[in-house]
Amino acid sequence: MAHSGHIELRSVTKRFDQTLAVDDISLTIPHGSYCCLLGPSGCGKTTILRMIAGHEAPTAGDIRIGGESVIGLPPVRRGTAMMFQNYALFPHLTVLDNVAFNLKARGVGKAERHQRAREVLAQVQLDQFAERMPAQLSGGQQQRVALSRALITKPRVLLLDEPLSALDEFLRLQMRGELRRIQRELGITFVHVTHTQLEAIAVADVVVVMEEGRIEQAASAHEIYTLPATAYVARFMGGQNVLAGTVIALNDGAATLVDGTGARFAAPATSTAPAKGQEIACCIRRDRIKVEKLRGPLSSLAEATNVLAGTVHAIEYQGSYVKVTIDVPGREQFVGNLPDHAFLTAPLDIGDAVVARWATEDVHLLTGDSTKTTTGVRLPLEAQKDGVSQHLI
């Protein structure tokens, strides 16, 4: 267990003066998994990362790595290594000396530490840059140096603070795959902080969606995307539309909702059956929606379920699909992602009156009972690809 990168946060809270940055969080990250902490600025994800690293101490609660509490231990004794946002490469040292820094701090002799540093640099194809200064490297190269510098300490947990945000889009996509590959090769735990949703689901086994110091949902990428637990997660991930209403009927394993404007929605009601009269939200994936021009009068839709009528507000071409934003009176904007061939067969214009339809089995009730701790279910890659990767660039 001593070398295990199994991380446990138990009721961790962090308060800065009057601000509550992290609010009673409990989380388990299994050894060897790739975990992403995802959320907007200020949600507490970086604070959690720094507490795991040992750069901040929790106000309350316990943090365990490999089964042992690390509270009070300095970073180097925790077996963690951190890759800083903007890398924090020492500007006055060469690339080689940067990478060898940990060895120098431990008293390793010059010849030996330079050789080991060169070996690590060779693994990321940067050995011929060993004598350069960090300022002379490109963003992507600096990132690889920062990674080497962290990995030379042979950590059991690697902590990455928004590692890709300083890179341009093309490099970002490349490095994403690199990070995933390195994690698989080393078999250690990666904890990666980001505010980019697609990045998180691309690399992570476990995605932890956070908001205002609390975990909204911690689950596999597939679950977060397809089966969000709360309206916040559904909206934040971006692939869903959120609808709300009151339950008026429950039959045949389906719940029917009616909202304030009289629109009716039906969703499969499974084990967590909502009660009649309960107000509840549900969500429908944007790529499961058919949008077509309105034919016939609006009144024909009066008793229809899982149908919305509105006007096209915006059309955005995204390569394999077209994002259609619809203004629906009395509610927030509704978005449908139409496959490009479908759109081209029946194109729409801004201002067109349209109808959006979807099937009941594609609706997901947001029961709010998310898994706040996770067992780190790692779905096989095939299952993860299903319905998710087609929207990744």
Partner: protein, 282 residues
């Protein structure tokens, strides 16, 4: 946009450049008078017109009786300045590090430093002299004068360190800590090397302020003068063009020191660039 001349510079550039040139002339102009007069003939006086041209007064500098003990006071000034430099650098760095935390009394210490700076030099010298007098200890250039000069250089050093630290990115320290460096290692291997330009600034300031210092040193100096005091004694007692010769010499020395410093920086940079080019081609 304002009208630009053919090479893209607005008219204000030329106006400001002219102002700047005038200012530089203003700074260096009077020194030109001294420079010329230092070659005054042996019978010449302190002002124009020139009575012949000679190196007489330069020679007079080394002869101690009539003109004053320049060699002695000069060496004392240098030694004192080096001691002040060393103490100022170490104490300012430590104090600069301290002020990055919030601690009780921080504001009091800060304002005490500012007060020490603005206190008229002669008054401070008076106080130090009194202190030594009441303690029945003889004042001397390496004790009382040293302390008096520190009250002038330390606040400057502190202010410079403030400016330097405020630009320092704490991520470097955290990275060092993350990689296993002890606090001392972090300081020595990371913080100080990155802050080196600022530290050199403190050192230069400390040296110059001490070397030039006059009001604070005047009273607590003891029996042997530093150079500024020797010069002052000269202006009040026996004044001769030897004074001007001294001015020319010290300015020349300053130029030489700066030239040496700049060329050594240039040489270091060129050497570093050559090393990296070699590494790249390897």
């Amino acid at each position: 946009m304002t009208a630009r001349s053919s090479n893209g510079r607005p008219w204000t550039f030329y106006a400001l450049a002219a102002f700047f040139t005038l200012f530089v002339l203003f700074l260096y102009g009077p020194m030109s008078a001294i420079f010329i007069l230092s070659f005054q003939g042996p019978t010449g006086g302190l002002t124009f017109p020139m009575n012949g041209v000679s190196l007489h007064w330069f020679k007079a500098l080394v002869v101690q009786q009539r003109s004053g003990d320049f060699v002695g006071s000069f060496s004392r000034s240098i030694v004192l300045a080096i001691i002040v430099l060393a103490i100022t650098v170490v104490v300012s760095i430590m104090a600069g590090l301290a002020f990055r935390y919030r601690f009780r009394g921080a504001t009091a210490v800060f304002y005490m430093a500012i007060a020490s700076l603005i206190m008229p030099g002669l008054l401070l010298g008076l106080g130090v002299g009194l202190m030594f007098q009441f303690a029945h200890v003889s004042p001397a250039w390496f004790s009382s004068a040293l302390g008096a000069q520190l009250t002038w250089t330390l606040p400057f050093g502190l202010l410079i360190m403030f400016a330097v630290f405020s630009r320092f990115n704490r991520a470097y320290e955290e990275a060092a800590r993350d990689l296993g460096a002890s606090p001392w290692q972090t300081l020595w291997l990371v913080v100080l090397p990155i802050l080196l330009p600022g530290i050199i600034g403190v050192a230069l300031f400390g040296f110059t302020l001490s070397y030039d210092e006059f009001p604070r040193t005047l009273i607590p100096i003891g029996s042997r003068n530093t150079l500024p005091l020797e010069i002052w004694a000269m202006t009040t007692d026996v004044t001769s063009p030897a004074l001007y010769a001294l001015g020319t010499l010290t300015t020349a020395v300053s130029f030489v020191v700066i030239a040496v410093a700049l060329t050594s920086i240039a040489v270091i940079q060129r050497r570093r660039a050559r090393r990296q080019r070699r590494a790249r081609e390897a």
